[in-house]
């Protein structure tokens, strides 16, 4: 069974590193990428070219994004009765207290900062896989019939 994960990230370098780190951590993961907030919401709502998109079991969300920023994406996800149960983990470079508090207020499930060092980043992705995709009980896929 593939594990569907949506990564919302505008930096191609960070996308590449995340893809490689997940491939090392867990071959079953299908990592889907949305490069801005508008595309992320289209993917989640299966609009336009994303009509066949799977429902992700986990969302990794950057905060600073073009078109629609991560805080808005998070608010939309958590206001949507169909999407709100998908665990949404903030993955950002920001260590600002205001971003941390705001994200938890908006019901982020967890807030993680991207380490600059490559090996630390790989270790973080491994721990995301180990915790969120292995230990945590995720809500079952809900297909709207």
């Amino acid at each position: 069974m593939p594990i569907e994960v949506l990564l919302v990230e505008d930096s191609p370098g960070d996308v590449r590193l995340t893809q490689e780190a997940f491939r090392d951590a867990n071959k079953a993961i299908h990592l889907h990428v949305a490069a801005d907030g508008v595309e992320a919401m289209a993917f989640l709502r299966r609009e336009g070219i994303h009509a066949q998109a799977p429902r992700p079991e986990l969302i990794l969300l950057d905060l600073n994004l073009p078109k629609m920023d991560g805080r808005e994406v998070l608010a939309h996800i958590k206001e949507d009765s169909n999407l709100k149960t998908i665990p949404t983990v903030i993955l950002t470079t920001s260590e600002a207290e205001v971003d941390i508090v705001k994200s938890y207020q908006l019901q982020a499930n967890c807030y993680l900062t991207k380490p600059v060092q490559l090996d630390a980043f790989e270790a973080l992705v491994k721990s995301i896989n180990d915790f969120w995709l292995t230990k945590v009980k995720l809500p079952q896929q809900r297909q709207n019939g």
């Binding site: 938890y104 019901q107 967890c110 995301i128 230990k135 809500p139």
Partner: protein
């Protein structure tokens, strides 16, 4: 400032659990995983809310960084405790993890709907339980950024 220093030194975890055996095992597992953790125990939902509200009012350094919440509890059950935490502006930013024996899909879905930060099942095997607590400690008390103790101005 002081609160931050205290938090960095000794992560404060509130365990809401009515089974004395599970309390003991959790204490021992945290002690192995991260000896700096200070584990506070509330044995029912009413006691948990009283503890949380007292720490919030006093703005003390003992405000939990993380809450581990069982679902089936005397007096006030875990779902009610979770709803009360997530409806309270001063408490809602504390990550709250469901830690229960229930694997029922209805409980899992309800937990996430009530804004649980995540849902974990207690393994029956002791070594699996210790591994789970270690990974909670690693992810939540080492990797994750938690909101500071002070209330948002």
């Amino acid at each position: 400032m002081n609160g931050i220093e205290v938090r960095d030194g000794h992560p404060q975890v509130l365990l809401v659990e009515d089974d004395p055996g599970d309390v003991r095992l959790t204490q021992e597992a945290f002690h192995q995983a991260n000896p700096s953790v200070q584990l506070h125990v509330a044995s029912d939902g009413v006691e948990a809310m009283a503890y949380l509200r007292q720490q919030a009012v006093q703005g003390t350094a003992l405000r939990p960084d993380l809450i581990l919440l069982d679902l089936n509890l005397p007096k006030m059950d875990g779902r009610q405790v979770l709803a009360s935490i997530k409806e309270d502006a001063g408490l809602k930013t504390i990550p709250t993890i469901i830690l229960t024996t229930s694997e029922a899909e209805a409980d899992i879905a309800k937990g996430y709907l009530l804004q649980a930060n995540c849902y974990l099942c207690k393994p029956v095997q002791l070594d699996a339980f210790e591994i789970l607590i270690k990974s909670v400690s690693d992810l939540w008390l080492s990797n994750a950024k938690l909101s500071q103790k002070r209330l948002v101005e």
